[in-house]
């Protein structure tokens, strides 16, 4: 039973990583940059939802919706103001800017909301925990909803990029920005849309994560951001199913390492697994290198 309980926790944590990893992987795919500020967008989503529920008295689900809109706008603004002016310059400049944006968001949060940890009110307050197998198996509503949310998001996103015109345009820009422009695709619009989607999902991840681990601080997004980035690399950066598999595996490995090996070593074990995967398959589990035919 212990095993099953750990598996559920792992899947739930992994689902949060997967949803965050999507933002990293889609942005990387389309603009070949690592948006290190992505983790901090999660934190902003958490705070927006926290303020609205605690001080405005808004319904949690409505607050989640508002947080998504706020993060979507934030994501579009970050791309517009910080990254777009640097497009076409070296990737190092963009990387350093992304780190700068990350600190900017953390410090703004510190200024606005203070350093004190806030206790987040779970979105699922009042819902019952499921007990099964004579009380030995517990499934919290947080776990259940996070796992379901991840599945729904993955299916929706996969359909979006494979079936819709805007989604196909995103894939085209990811593959070949110049050729996409020759088709008449507005690359700026495609990139904005990608940041919008990634950041909106970051708000969902933020609220789900804070519901399960209810401490909210200006640095709350940093660690999960790095873990999700790891998950994206693990699964193959640029690949949407890769983000899903990478996220889930990472969550499961982390929880099992904590339960069966050592809490202190769990992060080290996670990163060791990443290194092993990258040694065997440098592009990550599902990452592929398409060789050009000339």
């Amino acid at each position: 039973m212990n095993f099953l309980n750990s598996l559920i926790s792992g899947l739930s944590l992994g689902s949060v990583y997967a949803i965050i990893a999507l933002g990293y992987t889609m942005v990387y795919g389309i603009s070949k940059m690592l948006n290190f500020a992505h983790g901090d967008v999660i934190m902003v989503g958490g705070y927006v939802s926290f303020i609205l529920t605690m001080y405005v008295g808004m319904n949690g689900w409505l607050a989640l919706l508002v947080a998504m809109v706020a993060c979507t706008i934030l994501g579009i603004l970050i791309e517009r103001l910080a990254y777009r002016p640097l497009r076409g310059t070296g990737s190092l400049a963009v990387l350093i800017t992304a780190i700068g944006v990350s600190y900017f968001l953390q410090n703004s949060a510190l200024l606005i909301w203070g350093a004190n940890p806030r206790v987040f009110n779970s979105l699922f307050n009042g819902m019952k925990t499921i007990h099964a197998a004579g009380g030995q198996l517990t499934i919290t509503p947080e776990s259940l909803f996070t796992i379901i949310a991840n599945i729904v998001i993955m299916i929706a996103l996969t359909l979006f990029v494979s079936k819709t015109k805007a989604g196909k345009a995103m894939r085209a820009v990811s593959e070949d920005n110049g050729a996409a422009q020759l088709m008449g695709i507005n690359v700026n619009q495609s990139i904005s849309l990608t940041f919008a989607i990634g950041s909106g999902l970051a708000a969902v991840a933020g609220v789900l994560m804070c519901s399960a681990y209810p401490v909210l601080m200006p640095t709350t997004g940093a660690m999960p951001g790095i873990k999700a980035f790891t998950a994206a690399v693990f699964g193959g950066i640029g690949s949407i199913p890769g983000a899903m598999i990478g996220g889930l595996l990472l969550g499961i490995i982390e929880i099992f390492a904590r339960a069966y090996i050592s809490t202190e070593l769990s992060d080290a074990i996670v990163f060791a697994c990443l290194i092993i995967v990258l040694l065997v398959k440098p592009t990550g589990l599902l990452g592929k290198k398409i060789n050009e035919k000339v």
């Binding site: 196909k168 070949d176 422009q181 088709m183 008449g184 695709i185 398409i290 035919k293 000339v294």
Partner: protein, 236 residues
């Protein structure tokens, strides 16, 4: 006749490298015009500048009597210019059909089915492979796909950058035959080629580019006979 495209005194730089040094030429309705020249002469750069992916510091580019020198790249195709870039640059991870859909990104929905049929008529090989991932096509098929993709937007002017590159002689013949068919069907063509002999044999007019400048121009026939061209590009 009427002029479709006028390029007037363009100068294009890559940073400090002055790649195009005052090139001017024009393309008339219904013509096949070819730009020939050695590696690095500036042929692809010229096409990229017309497509808006690069900008000229001077001069102007007019298409159907309006300037496109400041038009963003993604708005060029809806004006009627389709560019088949060097190296094909099809979307390798997409299927053949998806690539063709991308070519129709700005095409009016009621024209798409008609254009698709036209492309499959020109390239029956593609029709047998609609669901195949484009990256797994042979080089010749990829060239056909790149051309088919460009035709999906009903171009008034089709720009082809080295369509014969890396193809076996029999396929080169086939591609050139298709180019001539497209031209007969009414598409004006601007053709960039290293294979000067082939290009001159189908071209109405031709320009020779050397290190960023036009050094010779004339009808295809005239240039094919000219001593300079024979020495430099036709092997004697």
């Amino acid at each position: 006749m009427g002029t479709v495209l006028t390029v007037r005194d363009i100068n294009v730089y890559y940073g400090a490298i002055h790649a195009i040094k005052g090139i001017s030429f024009d393309v008339n309705r219904g013509e096949i015009v070819t730009l020939i020249g050695a590696n690095g002469a500036g042929k692809s750069t010229t096409l990229h500048t017309i497509s808006g992916l690069l900008r000229s510091k001077t001069g102007d580019i007019e298409f159907l009597e309006s300037s496109i020198a400041r038009t963003p790249a993604h708005k060029i195709v809806s004006k009627g210019i389709s560019h088949v870039p060097e190296g094909r640059r099809i979307f390798q991870g997409m299927t053949v059909e998806e690539n063709l859909q991308m070519g129709a990104f700005v095409t009016k929905p009621d024209r798409i089915a008609h254009n698709l049929e036209y492309v499959y008529e020109q390239f029956p090989r593609l029709k047998e492979r609609t669901r195949q991932i484009a990256g797994t096509l042979s080089g010749g098929e990829q060239q056909m796909l790149a051309m088919g993709r460009a035709l999906m937007s009903d171009p008034r002017l089709l720009m082809l950058d080295e369509p014969s590159m890396g193809l076996a002689p029999i396929l080169v013949d086939q591609i050139f035959e298709i180019i001539q068919n497209l031209n007969k069907a009414g598409t004006t063509i601007l053709l960039v080629e290293q294979n000067a002999q082939m290009a001159l044999s189908v071209a109405d007019r031709a320009y020779v580019i050397e290190t960023g400048r036009i050094t010779l121009s004339g009808t295809g026939e005239e240039l094919a006979k000219s001593d300079e061209v024979r020495k430099a590009y036709l092997g004697g």
